[in-house]
């Protein structure tokens, strides 16, 4: 057998106080292979990679590169050893150009400290040509698409002559067409002798791309398999630890009256960019309307406009024939549940306990939480309320007095979804409600969403996950550049078609 390029020996990572993120992990990665590491969200894939890359300190264990023990304390050291990583969230400076971002940190300078552009430019241009990247050096990062930004990240690493590329969930931000494009490029890189470590939780992608697949579950290595004749179901079982149902039981939508309608929403941001342009939509009782789109095409503005977090330039929003566009946030919350896209920064206060996180919004709307007088807040009623919520939404916890930060992501999200679902039965707005969760929690939350629909709620579901949209939504909208470009019944379309609309007709990589 060939000497392994990267060899990991009983690696352990424990996040204090006692969460085991990675547990006695052994792994060998050989030169010139595409090695996928798959596992559910929270399985410890990213933590494992961050330890290899020097971003996170290991608790115990060994990492060898070319048979030498290494302990990186910074990514720069890893890059010196030829290892580079593209993170889930890009590490680019939006106001700098592609060129500036690529050379940042390794600027070729003359003796006087002046940047010698020519040489660097030539090298980058050669790389762009070689890999057919279709990027312009002078474009600003903030002006190019997410897919193009990802290319810049990869180019950054190639410019630093790395041999090993670690890509952490690179497809999460891409449309189906862009994913194909990325895969071609990765295969070319492998062909030239580079090694690629590909992190994902999407089975199809992993099966299509990789030579070797390592399955990870709860921080442990379950198995490493050569990718020939592997079945999706078998891989899924290894990943989740039980049989997985790929579709959700959902009866046909039983439509009632129009509950929610928005007409001609228009919004221009402070930079004069038209973030919403004549967006109109309508949701009936008992219907889930899915909103697809590449992130940053107005979905977040739409959600914020509905919840009252931004002031529209123009437009009308109605819930049950009542205009809400001029109401303040609290008055709108009386009519709607709203699960925000980011549970840490928008959906909860991480320092506070479960009770304090449970009663938000309810504390103003639910009279039972008052005590003699509406200005007072009853401790005992609040705890009772929180305990009820914890029970109903199966939040695994010890007490309503523990801080929410001590819960796993899935349990935090159950609490947040539960809190919101207890607010309203008529209109529910969900912004990526299952992003980054374990399969168990995803299933639970998706079932709750369908329950709500079946009880007659109108549901607006914004999601970056096409699988989720296709399994939940009765109808789909696609947003592009602040406009609704496509509106169809889910049953009458497929992912490729939606992907086309997500990209927009006139969109190109270097735009």
């Amino acid at each position: 057998m060939v000497e392994a390029l990267i060899e990991i020996d009983s690696l352990v990572k424990i996040y204090p106080p006692s969460t085991i993120a990675v547990k006695d992990f052994d792994l060998k990665i050989n030169t010139g292979e595409i090695h996928s590491v798959i596992g559910e969200n929270g399985a410890g894939k990213s933590t494992l990679m961050k330890m290899i890359y020097g971003l996170t300190e290991r608790s115990s264990g060994k990492i060898k590169i070319n048979n030498r023990d290494v302990k990186f304390t910074s990514p720069q050291q890893a890059v010196k050893y030829g290892i580079g990583m593209v993170h889930q969230e890009f590490m680019l400076i939006p106001s700098y150009t592609v060129f500036e971002n690529i050379i940042l940190g390794v600027e070729p300078t003359s003796k006087l400290g002046i940047i010698e552009k020519k040489e660097a430019e030539k090298k980058i241009k050669d790389l762009i040509k070689q890999y057919n990247f279709n990027l312009k050096l002078k474009s600003k990062i903030s002006e190019i698409s997410v897919a193009a930004q990802q290319k810049v990240e990869i180019l950054k690493l190639l410019y630093r002559d790395v041999d090993v590329l670690i890509l952490d969930e690179p497809t999460a931000v891409l449309t189906p067409q862009e994913i194909e494009d990325l895969f071609l490029r990765l295969k070319k890189l492998r062909y030239e002798g580079r090694t690629i470590i590909f992190i994902s939780h999407k089975l199809d992608e992993v099966l299509e791309l990789s030579d070797v697949i390592t399955v990870m579950r709860k921080g442990e290595k379950i198995t490493t398999l050569e990718n020939n004749n592997l079945g999706k179901a078998e891989l899924a079982k290894a990943m989740v630890g039980r049989d997985v149902i790929f579709s959700i039981d959902k009866t046909k939508a039983n439509l009632g009256d129009v509950i929610f309608s928005a007409v001609n929403l228009n919004y221009k941001d402070a930079n004069g960019i038209q973030q919403l342009e004549d967006v109109s939509l309508q949701i009936n009782s008992g219907e889930i309307l899915g909103v697809a789109g590449v992130e940053g095409n107005g979905q977040y503005e739409l959600v914020r406009a509905i919840s009252g977090l931004l002031d529209l330039d123009y437009g009308e929003i109605k819930i049950k024939n009542k205009n809400i566009e001029d109401l303040d946030i609290l008055k709108r919350r009386r009519e709607m549940a709203y699960v925000t896209q980011d549970r840490k920064f928008m959906g909860s206060a991480q320092d506070l306990n479960l009770m304090e996180n449970s009663i938000m919004t309810h504390h103003r709307l639910n009279d039972e939480l008052s005590y003699y007088h509406p200005v007072l807040l009853s401790k005992s009623a609040s705890i009772k309320f929180a305990d009820n919520l914890i029970n109903k939404f199966k939040v695994i916890s010890e007490s309503s007095k523990q801080p929410i930060s001590s819960l796993s992501g899935g349990n935090q999200q159950r609490l947040i979804v539960g809190r919101e679902f207890m607010l309203s039965d008529q209109f529910i707005m969900l912004d990526n409600p299952t992003r980054g969760l374990d399969v168990g929690s995803i299933e639970f939350i998706q079932e709750e969403i369908i329950n709500k629909r079946d009880k007659g709620a109108a549901v607006l579901l914004v999601s970056a996950d096409l699988d989720e949209l296709f399994s939940l939504a009765d109808r789909l909208l696609v947003m592009h550049s602040g406009k609704v470009v496509f509106n169809t019944d889910t049953a009458r379309t497929n992912k490729e078609e939606i992907g086309q609309y997500m990209l927009g007709a006139e969109m190109s990589d270097s735009a």
């Binding site: 204090p16 709203y338 401790k379 695994i396 796993s408």
Partner: protein
């Protein structure tokens, strides 16, 4: 909560030990100095009463900072709000004379309103022009300092005195003594209880706490951020203004002297920081710092250790309490990791009940 008490005690004890070592190295009688420090602050009735008198305004400025910081409102204007409160009380007390039963409430109210108006100025600038209160309150401190200095050197100067100060306010506005105990401490305690109640038992207090932890979450949940911001600012200013009233209505001087209340503003900020913005913690640390400050005079008298030594002791306490809060946390984490690894290595399979992550 338990951890806070533990790290607090740990911090105070280690600060006192370090202070002891410093005294020893400097060649002072270390143990004797400490004995005198406590002798002159808690060990006799008279000294204990002076400590309480010192603590009364300090607790109020501490609460002013704690309520602000705990709600994500960075009011650093205690100095100015205290001066404005004290000056307003002085002016009203000089020119109005009513029976004490009416006079005292009027003066207290004056301090509360004037302090709140002064911090309200910063709140207005923030809400209207988005100017950071952290800057404006600091700047307004200077305005208050020079404005009050102008008043006591100009229009309000007592010409019979040889340093700038006003005349005494009418004696009907003096807070009574209770067997040589100043009643200011009772006002501080009542106010502390009131703030504690608001913080823990009202919807408003809940909203402030959430704002202090995550403003965005509060906003998304329907909390009216601007309205609450202004309320917190006003209350914070009112508390500092009330501390100013204590200085005029309590004590022996009953007049606005140059340099009055010089340290109370910043010591209040310090108290809140050490207490991590907890209301009870602020009261306790307020008392502790009052002990040090009161005792330092006695220490200087008996063992010739300069009373400024207490400033060092205070600084060390702040560093140790805040540092032990963090380091105890890190230490505990490190220990639990080592334990967990040992558990893993010994083959003892840890509990399999973690359903996810």
């Amino acid at each position: 909560m338990k951890k806070n008490i533990l790290t607090g005690i740990l911090g105070i004890v280690s600060a006192l030990v370090v202070g002891l070592i410093i005294l020893f190295i400097q060649g002072y009688p270390a143990v004797e100095s400490y004995r005198q420090l406590f002798n002159y602050s808690i060990l006799s009735r008279f000294s204990f009463f002076s400590t309480l008198a010192k603590a009364a305004p300090l607790i109020l400025t501490g609460l002013s900072a704690a309520v602000g910081f705990g709600s994500n409102v960075v009011n650093l204007g205690q100095v100015g709000q205290l001066l404005i409160g004290a000056m307003s009380v002085t002016v009203v007390g000089l020119f109005i004379n009513l029976p004490a039963v009416i006079m005292i409430p009027i003066l207290l109210l004056t301090a509360v309103i004037s302090g709140a108006l002064y911090s309200g100025l910063a709140a207005y600038l923030r809400v209207k022009f988005n100017m950071d209160e952290f800057i404006t309150t600091l700047m307004l401190n200077f305005v208050a300092q020079y404005f009050t200095l102008y008043l006591i050197t100009g229009p309000l100067i007592d010409k019979e005195m040889n340093s700038p100060m006003t005349q005494q306010i009418n004696s009907s506005g003096w807070l009574p003594m209770l067997n040589s105990l100043e009643t200011t401490i009772f006002i501080s305690i009542i106010i502390s209880l009131l703030i504690y109640f608001i913080w823990h038992n009202t919807k408003m207090g809940y909203e402030w706490k959430v704002m202090g932890s995550n403003n965005t979450f509060a906003l998304f949940g329907g909390v009216k951020i601007d309205k609450n911001y202004v309320r917190v600012m006003l209350i914070s200013g009112a508390l500092a203004g009330l501390a100013g009233a204590m200085l005029i209505m309590g004590g022996l001087q009953h007049r606005f002297l140059k340099g009055i209340g010089a340290n109370y503003g910043w010591d209040g900020v310090m108290t809140a920081v050490v207490a991590n913005n907890s209301i009870i913690g602020t009261v306790i640390y307020g008392l502790f710092f009052a002990v040090l400050q009161t005792g330092s005079m006695g220490m200087e008298l008996e063992t010739a250790v300069p009373s400024e030594f207490v400033l060092i002791l205070q600084a060390i306490t702040v560093l140790f309490v805040v540092a032990s809060r963090k380091s105890a946390y890190l230490l505990l984490n490190k220990m639990s990791i080592i334990l967990k690894i040992r558990q893993l290595r010994s083959g003892g399979e840890p509990e399999e009940n973690e359903l996810d992550d």
